[in-house]
Point group: C2
DNA sequence: CAAGCAAGCAAACAAGCGTTCGATAAGGAG
DNA sequence: CTCCTTATCGAACGCTTGTTTGCTTGCTTG
């Protein structure tokens, strides 16, 4: 029986991880099946036993990336905390999975734009991403914001700030937690209801 | 005598514009010299009379893109206005050059990541970008912010929010001016000094 | 031990890539 | 008329790409 998801340690999982590393470093187009094969110690043709095509491999990498990010976000959240705290925790989890060297997955969803891929692939990628975005949308929905504040804009603004850290962040800078707290705070006081 | 910049209407300029359109649509790697040649009605080899390589052509496109964005930003600013107003105007100019269909240049600096290119090209691209970022840095420097607010974070947060609109914006949504004002306002009240 | 399947190797394929190069037409300068 | 430059064509070169195919190993199961 074939697995559809990646068991940790399986060959399929090894390939996905190597592919993720290369996709993150060079981008989809500039990554060759030979690069990926070489990283796993295999020959190019052997990859096709596990994945039908480069696109399918990328879709698997993308799904795994979303999975890892969502895990990191969910793990960072204390469900008993108030919405503002939970948002701060979610942002921290997101940035951690994006900025720490050992995890190379999150950068992919920032740098790869579904619009540029084939229709089939594009729809898969967009589907994956919605799982991630809902995580934040749900928290933002519970935030006590002033009347008249557009929660859509509010959420997109925050996600934009966070995603863009991937562009300017350099190792040795402030840790993800500090950045996350700073950014949430920047958006907070203006739109929040007065603490009664 | 060769020109180094693009005279409007020149052959070189025509190529740059066609290339920009294709780079924006498909990305650097997925854009072929044959695509660009075909858009201008030339044959692939003919492009090499005007540009020594694909990288050099892209560098020219990138420089032109920065130029166009900076123009759009500067044109939107009223130098006599106060810093908050000028920031709002700058943001509007940026979004206009990015989100309006007729200009295809701004998307390139959001979707192409210098880190992934050769060292030579990378350094050129980063150099271009600094011209654009200084435009915003200068205004942010003059903003009357509360003591203790990190202007670096503040600027990066705003630029992230703005750049990310390229990912989620769809034609028919709010006009750039509304988005720019909304986003500046979101960051404003928290960190601004009280209006004395 | 025999059979069968999982996994990978080795080698090739056609297509497409960036780029090169000699030829060529058009037009201005002397 | 001759010479030189500008701009392009037409055709190819060498290389890399994603992918396919037939063969071989090695483990597992009966």
């Amino acid at each position: 029986m074939a697995y559809t998801k990646a068991d940790p340690g399986s060959r399929r999982d090894t390939i996905i991880e190597a592919a993720a590393r290369q996709f993150a470093k060079a981008g989809y187009d500039a990554t060759t099946m030979r690069d990926i094969a070489s990283l796993t110690g295999m020959l190019p043709g052997s990859l096709y036993y596990h994945f039908r095509s480069k696109e399918e491999l990328f879709a698997a990498v993308h799904e795994e990336a979303i999975q890892k990010i969502c895990d990191s976000v969910v793990r960072a959240i204390d469900p008993a905390a108030d919405p503002w705290t939970r948002l701060e925790q979610a942002a921290t989890g997101y940035l951690e999975s994006m900025l720490m060297h050992d995890s190379v997955y999150a950068g992919i969803i920032v740098t790869e734009f579904p619009r540029r891929r084939s229709r089939n692939l594009r729809e898969q990628l967009i589907g994956h991403r919605q799982r991630f975005e809902r995580l934040f949308a749900d928290i933002v929905e519970e935030l006590p914001l002033k009347d008249g504040v557009d929660r859509s804009y509010w959420r997109l603004a925050l996600l934009g700030m966070l995603a863009w850290t991937y562009v300017w962040y350099r190792p040795g800078g402030d840790p993800p937690k500090v950045i996350a707290q700073t950014m949430v705070k920047m958006l907070r006081n203006d739109t929040a209801q007065a603490d009664s």
